[in-house]
């Protein structure tokens, strides 16, 4: 047991040191970093503004106010942004490049856990801009909704965020594993990751059945944000799922991460390199 703890401690030290390297290298060019940070934040701001600005004309989106949409939207920007920051190394286009160039093979030769190395191989700090503006949108949502806060809700909120980080992180791992064979990232994964995060930024009862069904049964993203939001906002469930549905977020997230880990481990065992 003690030995295992020591190994874990060692791995953690290496992970933190790798992140430190990323941090230093990206902060080397301060101006560049600042611009990238602002541009990334601006993307979030502009996209949300486009919704907010037309809301005046429409009043609501099938019964949901702008504040309630901001709650959903802000949660996704924070959750997905955090995931994008932590799992940058597994981002399929980025990882595919490592497979293509053979730099991934170098990592395999090092006597350190491969997952740790990939996680530490990139840390897209500019995502902090996205997270910060996501938090601002979320704060706007809180101001314009009358959430009755209870201890349970306060404790559950971070778990919902963790659910999203795990869920999309798991999808990133699956996407990265696929590049072992396709070399390039496959576009279908974008539909699940970026498409999924886009779909769950809106109250999901607005979608047609096929679309909602896809993100309920095939990729259960509906439980990550929409159902928790129903619970936080104290709204009745228009779809009639069991009462525990709002509390599935961490379970669904952890499940996807485990699936991603299993795929990744299987992929590593069968990886044959591109020879470049």
């Amino acid at each position: 047991m003690r030995k295992r703890n020591r190994v874990f401690g060692h791995t953690l030290t290496i992970y933190l040191r790798l992140l430190g390297v990323q941090l230093r290298s990206q902060l080397q060019y301060r101006f560049s970093f600042l611009l990238d940070l602002l541009a990334t934040a601006l993307i979030v701001l502009v996209e949300f503004a486009s919704i907010a600005l037309v809301f005046g004309r429409f009043g609501s989106i099938q019964g949901w106010s702008l504040g309630e949409v901001a709650f959903l939207y802000g949660m996704v920007e924070m959750g997905f942004g955090l995931m994008d920051l932590l799992f940058s190394g597994f981002d399929p286009p980025h990882f595919g490049q490592a497979v293509r160039r053979g730099t991934f093979d170098q990592l395999l030769l090092r006597p350190v856990n491969i997952t740790t190395q990939v996680l530490g191989s990139a840390l897209e700090l500019r995502r902090l801009g996205r997270i910060a503006f996501g938090a601002a949108i979320f704060a706007y949502g809180l101001q314009h909704t009358a959430i009755v806060w209870t201890a349970a809700k306060v404790l559950y909120l971070p778990l919902v965020l963790a659910g999203m980080v795990f869920f999309f992180g798991g999808l990133f791992m699956i996407g990265a594993t696929i590049t072992f064979w396709t070399v390039d990232s496959i576009e279908v994964m974008n539909i699940l990751t970026y498409g999924g995060s886009y779909v769950i930024s809106y109250p999901m009862h607005i979608y047609q059945n096929w679309l909602r069904g896809f993100f309920t049964y095939l990729v259960p993203a509906i439980f990550l944000n929409y159902y928790p939001a129903l619970y936080f906002l104290g709204r009745p469930d228009p779809l009639g799922y069991p009462g525990f549905a709002p509390f599935l977020a961490p379970v669904v997230g952890a499940g996807m991460l485990l699936l991603g880990r299993a795929a990744w481990r299987w992929g590593i065992r069968h990886y044959q390199s591109t020879g470049s």
Binding site: F31, V46, V54, I191
Partner: protein
């Protein structure tokens, strides 16, 4: 050696040898580029699937906003569906999500040989982008519109005159878009961090072009602000002409505005390049 000097000397000797009209060079470059981009059909299909999917979700959101309303700000349901399809179809054609081709060559040094070519630097890039845009229009634009047309109720231009106007507007839209990207890409001559600067230029275009939402849905002050920039002529003008929302004098005026903006951006690009080239230092090796 100073790049301008080298260029002058080389172009003189080149001029003595052969006189190839710029138009022929342009067409040859555009043709090659078109061929090259038509080769990546699998990538185009993959991109198509994503564009198609996002379009459907955007339509769902817009229709949910419409709710029971039949018409909002002069756009009915079929028109707003067509708007969504068109905006998705135009993404690849005018590289709405970003183009950093020129900045990459500045950092790799290729820019030196490109500047020596016996063709105006802007025209050289325009030709290459013409091929890319043509391929994108065929593989991703038209296919996407056909796919949406098969499953959704959409509007189409009425008659040859309107189709012609759409074609002219789409051509000018590409010219404006490219000239704008060229302009912001030139920032690479000044800074090693052009990507961040360029990203600003793209994000602004998303909102002000009417790509994220039809401009008529936005508050009036913002629309007025948008029309002080070239951006509405990237997407909104094309869409409104396609839907027949601009007719007669309004249509002519819109096309004229597009032409003027294209001219302004092209001239600005030529002037900026003159300053930029003076700053360029190419390292040997």
């Amino acid at each position: 050696m100073d790049v301008t000097m080298l260029r002058n000397r080389l172009s003189q000797t080149a001029a003595e040898r052969v006189q190839v009209p710029a138009v022929r060079l342009f067409l040859a470059l555009a043709g090659r580029s078109l061929q090259r981009h038509l080769t990546y059909r699998a990538a185009a299909v993959a991109g198509l699937v994503t564009n198609f999917f996002f379009g459907l979700v955007r339509i769902a959101v817009l229709l949910a906003l419409y709710g029971q309303r039949q018409e909002v700000a002069g756009m009915d349901v079929a028109e707003v569906v067509t708007y969504s399809g068109l905006t998705q179809a135009i993404i690849a054609y005018i590289s709405l999500f970003g183009w950093y081709g020129l900045t990459d060559t500045v950092y790799s040094g290729e820019v030196a040989t490109d500047l020596l070519k016996p063709l105006n630097y802007y025209t050289f890039w325009l030709a290459r982008d013409a091929g890319r845009a043509g391929a994108a229009l065929l593989l991703r634009g038209v296919t996407l519109m056909v796919a949406y047309g098969l499953i959704l109720e959409m509007r189409y231009p009425a008659g040859a005159g309107q189709w012609l106007a759409v074609a002219v507007a789409a051509l000018l839209s590409w010219l404006i878009a490219f000239s704008w990207y060229y302009l912001i890409n030139l920032s690479a001559f000044w800074t090693p961090y052009a990507r961040g600067i360029c990203r600003f230029g793209f994000v602004l275009a998303w909102l002000l072009s009417g790509f994220l939402m039809p401009l008529r849905f936005l508050p009036e002050w913002l629309v007025r602000l948008a029309y002080l920039t070239p951006f509405p002529h990237l997407v909104n003008t094309v869409v409104e002409i396609y839907l027949g929302l601009l007719q007669g004098p309004a249509l002519i005026r819109a096309l004229l505005f597009q032409g003027v903006w294209a001219a302004i951006l092209i001239v600005a690009g030529q002037l900026l390049l003159k300053v930029a080239v003076k700053r360029l230092v190419i390292l040997g090796g």
